[in-house]
């Protein structure tokens, strides 16, 4: 066929012939689309429900949960922003701060170690790396009782560092970044070494720029994980000053009545914590999903 193409017609001229099987699009084509559209509606509907209910009053949410807002209002958002002073704003800022600092630290120390494991030679390298990987199986929950005791002794309960520090050494991140760095050609580093670069300079001037995609992917995954963290902050960050938004949201009660969940406000709160993530996702879709896959293709 390629022979024929070469002899009969000049390349890249004329319309590309439509493959035969695309011409008779049968019912199966539409069935696939229909099935996928049902799935998409299912996956997006809770988002729509959240948005719609955030524009209703608390009482309307109870009476008209599924429907369109009868009288759309921003009252829930206003009530949310003035909830207990400005607790929601404070907690939102706490979450941003904790997630950002943790992400910067986690990416930095994982990248440093990943560089050594991928590109430097030292005694015990493979054994050490294998041992680290094996600990991936151990759930972090086993560390919670000792960590609680340790931080209580230090007087660090209800601080930022107690929420940040246990999250900075990510074996998953180390693994993901190392896999990527293994693909950097040794010649590149060898050349720079002969040019007089120290490993430190190689790290900053070659390895980090080249690894930007994987660093970004890991940073996004880690940030999301921190943003969504619930169990540990619930245990160690109970004071309003350092409480993140995730543990605050479920505790929101009607400012006037008390003991009643104001669903309009809570849905507005859900919008508040979800919109930034969806925005980041839509901007960096590929990084996001490639990060998910990068963790999966091990072994």
């Amino acid at each position: 066929m390629s022979m024929a193409a070469r002899t009969v017609q000049p390349p890249a001229l004329g319309p590309v012939p439509v493959p035969a099987r695309r011409r008779h699009l049968d019912w199966r084509h539409w069935a696939v689309h229909a099935a996928l559209l049902v799935a998409v509606v299912g996956s997006l509907y809770p988002f729509a429900l959240m948005l719609l209910n955030s524009f209703k009053t608390d009482t309307e949410v109870l009476r008209n949960t599924a429907g369109w807002p009868i009288a759309p209002t921003l009252a829930s958002y206003e009530a949310l922003l003035t909830y207990e002073g400005s607790q929601v704003v404070r907690s939102f800022a706490n979450s941003v701060l904790i997630a950002t600092v943790s992400t910067l630290l986690a990416v930095f120390i994982a990248a440093l170690a990943a560089f050594a494991f991928a590109k430097l030679r030292f005694r015990g390298r493979n054994v050490l790396f294998g041992a680290l990987l094996a600990t991936l199986m151990v759930p972090y929950e086993v560390t919670l009782p000792p960590l609680f005791i340790m931080f209580a002794r230090l007087g660090w309960l209800n601080t930022y560092q107690v929420q940040i520090l246990p999250t900075v050494a990510s074996v998953f991140g180390l693994f993901m970044i190392r896999q990527y760095m293994l693909s950097i050609p040794d010649e590149l580093l060898e050349a720079s070494r002969l040019d007089g670069a120290t490993p430190w300079q190689q790290f900053w001037q070659i390895v980090v720029p080249v690894s930007a995609p994987v660093l970004g992917a890991f940073a996004i995954l880690h940030f999301i994980g921190m943003w969504n963290a619930y169990l540990w902050p619930l245990i160690v960050a109970t004071s309003p000053a350092v409480k993140p938004i995730m543990t605050l949201l479920p505790t929101i009660r009607d400012p006037l009545i008390g003991f009643v969940t104001p669903w309009g406000m809570v849905m507005a709160g859900c919008v508040l914590v979800t919109v930034p993530l969806v925005a980041v996702f839509l901007m960096f879709q590929d990084k996001f999903m490639s990060g998910v896959v990068a963790g999966a293709t091990k072994g």
């Binding site: 996956s43 949960t65 170690a113 600990t135 560390t143 040019d195 490993p199 969504n228 169990l231």
Partner: protein
């Protein structure tokens, strides 16, 4: 770090590199200035005692101070150079040991003690484990978790796989829209998802009840309530496994499908005899991941039916609640024991996967 010229042992923390005759390394310009030790010692030649093995010996001899002690044997790597890798891994390793490995091992010890957070810890041996294993709510929590795990895995993995196959073999270009749209729920926080599902599965006039025209007390009924949790988990995680499966599908050589079609195989036959066997590894990986995340589930059941204290009623509590409650009560020994008992099935599942994959050199993904 400045190093005085009199210190012959410039045991250089940074291995000092060789300047090249053709200056201007990879970034062009700025040649000698990037060599800190030389700049500090004012050595114009830019040569160094801490020579790498490629250093010509005559250059070393021209540096009398350095040559005294440091004159390296040609093949011996400098101390600084040997230390460098450890400096790179040190921040990671130190934080890992202090904040993960140490506490993990310590909790194993702690699980054999009774410790209330004050006073002395008293050795109780396996008593914590015995106490948990004889506690009815501990087993009730396990059985709840088992339902979430098995039912959740079945629904999630089957739906995710079907969607992945449809998107992969389906309409050209459909991937651009369907892939992010199906993944999107995974982006939402578990907390927000659970709160939204609470309005979906509200008893009385909740969305599901209204749409189905039924009146199910989701927060009371032990079976239906668990189904609501499974639905929440499935909705939240299908996108993740969908992306994993999609990646697994792309590793299968498309020529296999073409060949099968030539032989007259139907789409279903292709799926059964090409896709399923070749995705073995991916499936096993997915099963391990969904098992681990199911065993560690905490936020979803507690927030979808959370009562005043933010915890689910006994009929819906996952096993992680036992850890949380004991930790809250200051029963650190018991809390540690719970954590290690949760770890047991994780090890079993991982070991089974490992076993199944051994001797499985072929296969994709």
């Amino acid at each position: 770090m400045r190093v005085g010229p009199s210190q012959s042992g410039r045991t250089a923390l940074t291995p000092v590199p060789l300047p090249r005759t053709g200056r201007g390394a990879y970034d062009g310009g700025e040649p000698v200035a990037r060599i800190p030790v030389d700049a500090a010692t004012g050595s114009g030649t830019g040569t160094s005692a801490m020579a790498t093995t490629t250093q010509p010996t005559d250059v070393v001899r021209s540096r009398p101070l350095a040559a005294v002690r440091a004159a390296p044997r040609p093949r011996q790597r400098a101390l600084g150079e040997r230390l460098t890798p450890y400096l790179f891994i040190a921040p990671f390793l130190v934080s890992f040991v202090v904040l993960f490995l140490g506490p993990a091992l310590y909790s194993l010890v702690l699980s054999l003690y009774r410790y209330r957070g004050y006073g002395a810890a008293s050795w109780v041996g396996p008593a914590n484990y015995e106490r948990l294993l004889g506690y009815h709510q501990f087993w009730a929590s396990w059985s709840n978790t088992l339902v979430y795990w098995v039912a959740g895995a079945a629904v999630t993995l089957v739906v995710a796989f079907v969607l992945a196959v449809l998107v992969y073999h389906g309409p050209i270009g459909g991937k651009l829209f369907y892939k992010p749209a199906i993944f999107l729920p995974n982006v939402m926080a578990a907390v927000a998802a659970a709160l939204i599902f609470q309005t979906l599965f509200a008893p009385g006039s909740g969305v599901v009840n209204s749409v189905l025209g039924v009146d199910i007390a989701w927060d009371q009924d032990a079976l239906f309530g668990k189904l609501a949790v499974v639905a929440l988990r499935a909705w939240h995680s299908i996108g993740w496994f969908f992306v994993i499966f999609l990646a697994g599908l792309t590793t299968i050589n498309p020529e296999l499908y073409d060949a099968a079609k030539v032989d007259g195989a139907t789409a279903l036959q292709c799926t059964r005899s090409i896709t399923l066997p070749l995705m073995r590894r991916t499936f096993l990986f997915a099963v391990v991941i969904i098992s681990i995340t199911s065993l560690r589930m905490f936020a979803e059941p507690n927030l979808i039916f959370g009562t005043g204290d933010g915890l689910a009623p006994a009929a819906f509590q996952p096993i992680m609640n036992q850890l949380y409650l004991n930790l809250r009560a200051g029963e650190f020994g018991l809390a540690s024991a719970v954590a290690w008992l949760i770890f047991v099935p994780i090890v079993v599942v991982s070991a089974v996967q490992f076993r199944l994959l051994r001797g499985d050199d072929g296969g994709s993904a």
